[in-house]
Symmetry: C2
Subunit: 394 residues, 2 copies
Amino acid sequence: MKAINTNKQAYLQQVKQQNISAVLNVIWEHQSISRVEMIKKTGLTSGTISNLTKELIQLGIIREYEAVSGTVGRRRIMLGFNPDSYRIIGIDIGRSTIEVVLTDLTGNVLLSVEENIAQLRGPDQILAVVDPHVNRMKEKALAGGGRVLGIGTAVPGPMDLEKGIILSPPNFLGWDGYPLRDELTRRYSLPAHIEDDSCTCALAERWYGIGRNSRDLVFITMGMGIGGGIVTKGELVRGTNGLYGQVGHMTIVPDGEKCACGNYGCWETVGAIQGILKRSGGARTMDELMRHVREGNPQATECMERTLQYLEIAIINVFAMYDPEQIVLGGRLYPYLSDHIIELRKRVRERTFSFVKDRVHIASATFGTSQSVIGATAVVFGKLLTSPLDTLFG
Amino acid sequence: MKAINTNKQAYLQQVKQQNISAVLNVIWEHQSISRVEMIKKTGLTSGTISNLTKELIQLGIIREYEAVSGTVGRRRIMLGFNPDSYRIIGIDIGRSTIEVVLTDLTGNVLLSVEENIAQLRGPDQILAVVDPHVNRMKEKALAGGGRVLGIGTAVPGPMDLEKGIILSPPNFLGWDGYPLRDELTRRYSLPAHIEDDSCTCALAERWYGIGRNSRDLVFITMGMGIGGGIVTKGELVRGTNGLYGQVGHMTIVPDGEKCACGNYGCWETVGAIQGILKRSGGARTMDELMRHVREGNPQATECMERTLQYLEIAIINVFAMYDPEQIVLGGRLYPYLSDHIIELRKRVRERTFSFVKDRVHIASATFGTSQSVIGATAVVFGKLLTSPLDTLFG
C-alpha cells in the first residue's frame, strides 16, 4: 500500500484525487446515481460528496437530471456522466490497417476512419497516413470551444510503457525503439498514451463494454496471431516483462510445430489464421476456407473442427488459470468462428468443476472489428477515472 | 480506488494504518533501513516517520540498532524488525498429515510437530489431534509475558474466506460447510485465519522466502494433486470463484484421461503422484519408482522422462500466462524431480522469447515439506504488514 504523503499540500491533493476517483467510479458503475446512494456506496460524508459533485458539475464532466420513479411519481435528482464534456481521439495502428476514431467521453463514436497500410513500413510512412485523420478529428472536436481529453493509441507489443517507446514487435518493421508517445504528444499538443493492442481490446470491455459489471475478464483476440488482455479486480495485469496473458503461446499440441517464440505447438501455430490455412487443404483465405466448408470439402471441414477443438481447450485452460467472470472473444478471425459460440459454451461447461459450471461466461467482443481502437479511447477514459486530477490538469 | 473517509476520526485512523503499513513494508524489504532512507522510500515527512517509528518501537515490533558502515566507520541508527516481539502459530491440515509450528515474527521456527492423520476423518477427529499441540505452543509463547499475533491455518480449498468456512474439498470428507476459522478463534481465544494450502505455499515465499525481492511469483505444489498460488504485485490473486491459478487443471494431454474436474488430460492426471505411478509399470510408491529407475527399468525410466516433459510444458505455459519473476516448485512430489531442475531450466529457456530468456527463473521451495505450514504463519505476518492497526488492535 502506498504511503499517504503528509506534506499538507501534496497530501490534500492526493486525498482529493482518490475521492474524486471513487465518486467517478461509482457514477460509472451505476450509470446514474443519487447523492444519497453515493454517500452509501463510497462511505464519504454528505459534505464531501456535495463539494466534489459540485466541482465535477462545474467542470462539465457530470451533470444532474431529474428522475421520476415508481407509481407515486417521486422526483429525485440523479447524477450521470456528461458525454459531451470532452472528446477522446483513438488510434489503432495494426500490421495491415490503421483506424482513427473520435468519441465522446463515454465511448460513443462520432467519427471513424480506416485505411489499408499493408504496403507501408515504419513510423514515418504510417504516421503520415494517420496524421491528416487525427488533425481532422482534433479540429472537429475543438470547433466551438470543445475539449479533447487525450489521444489513446493501440499498437502491437512489446513496448516500454514508462518511456512510451515501441520495442521490436514481430512482423512490424522499423518501429524498434520508436518514441511513439512523445511524438504524438509533440505533433498534436495533446496528452498521448500508448498501449498494447490486446490490452486495449480488454480495456474496451472493461470501461465501455461488459466490464461495468465484470471486474475480472479475459479478452482473447484471434487473427494473424493470438493475444490476451487480462483484467483482474478492474485493472490490467502486465506481469514482470509486460508479457502477462500471452494466451497464444500456451502449448496446445505437445511436440507440435516450432513457434516464433521458441516453444513448440503454441495455440497460435494452429489456431491463428496462418496455422488454420496450412491444414485447410489449399484455401488461401478464411473466406475461401469457409466456402470449402459450405461445399462439404472434407479436409476443410476437418480443419474447422480441429480449430474449434483447439479453441475449446484454450478456453478451458484460460478458465483454469485465471478464473475470470467473463471470457470475451474477438479479433479478425472470430467472425468465422462465432456461429459456434453456443456449442462451445456448452462443451466448455461440461469440462469444468460442477460447482462453477453456471458461472462460465463466454461472450463476443462488444465492438467487433473496432474493439482495439475503442479500447485506445478507453485507455484515456480509464486514466480519468483512476487519476482524475492528473488527467484533467496534467 | 477506495474513497478516503472524511469522517475525521475514521479517516485519521485510515491514513495512519496506510502509513504504518508503508513503513513496515519498507523495513521488511530492506531488512534494515535508516530513517533518512525511509523518508526517501515512502515519501513521508521526517515528522511522520519519526512519530510512527517511535510508536512501532514502543510496541516492540521494530527496534533500533547501530550500524558501522564503510572504511570511515560512520555510525548510523538503523531500524529492523524485532523477531521476538510476537509469536505466530501455524497449522497445516493436510489429507494425510497435520503440522503445527510456533514461529517468531519473522518466520523462524521455534517449535514444530507433525502427525499422521491418514486414518482420521472430519473436523472432530482431526482437530482433536491438532488441539494439544496448539495449546502447548500457545502456552510456550505466552510464558513470561509473550504475545501471540494470531493463528494461520492452511487447509485444502475451496473455501469461503469471508465466512471462514470450508467448502467440499475433494478427498477431504466431513469438512463441507465447517466454520473452521470461528472454531479456532473460539478454542484458542486468538485471532485465527484460514487459507487455501496452495496459497499459503505462495505466501511463505512472498513474505519469508524469495518474495522479498520478487513481487510476481507463481508457486506450484505437486503431490497427490497439483495446485498453484499466484502472487501479482505482492498480492495473492483469487479470481472470481476462488479458483485462480488452478495450474493442475490445464490441459497437457489433449484427448487424455478424464479428470475429477470434468476436463480431459489435465496436468494433474499425468503429473501428480497417482498419474505417474499408473504408467510406471507397477511401482506402488514414488520411492519404488525411483528404485526401478536407478535399476535401469525401461518403463520406469520412460515414465520419469514423460513426467519431466509434462512439467516442462506446464512451466512454459505458466510463463506464457502469468509472466512471473519466479516460478517456485514444491510439494511432496518435488524432491523426486529436483535433481533435474538445472536441465529443466535450460530446456524452458530454449523455449521462451529470446528477449526474456535470461529472466526465466525457476527455484525450489524455500521451506521444503514445511512450506505450507510456514505459509500459514505468513498469512498472519502479511496481515500485520498490510493492515497493521486492525491486526494489532482489531
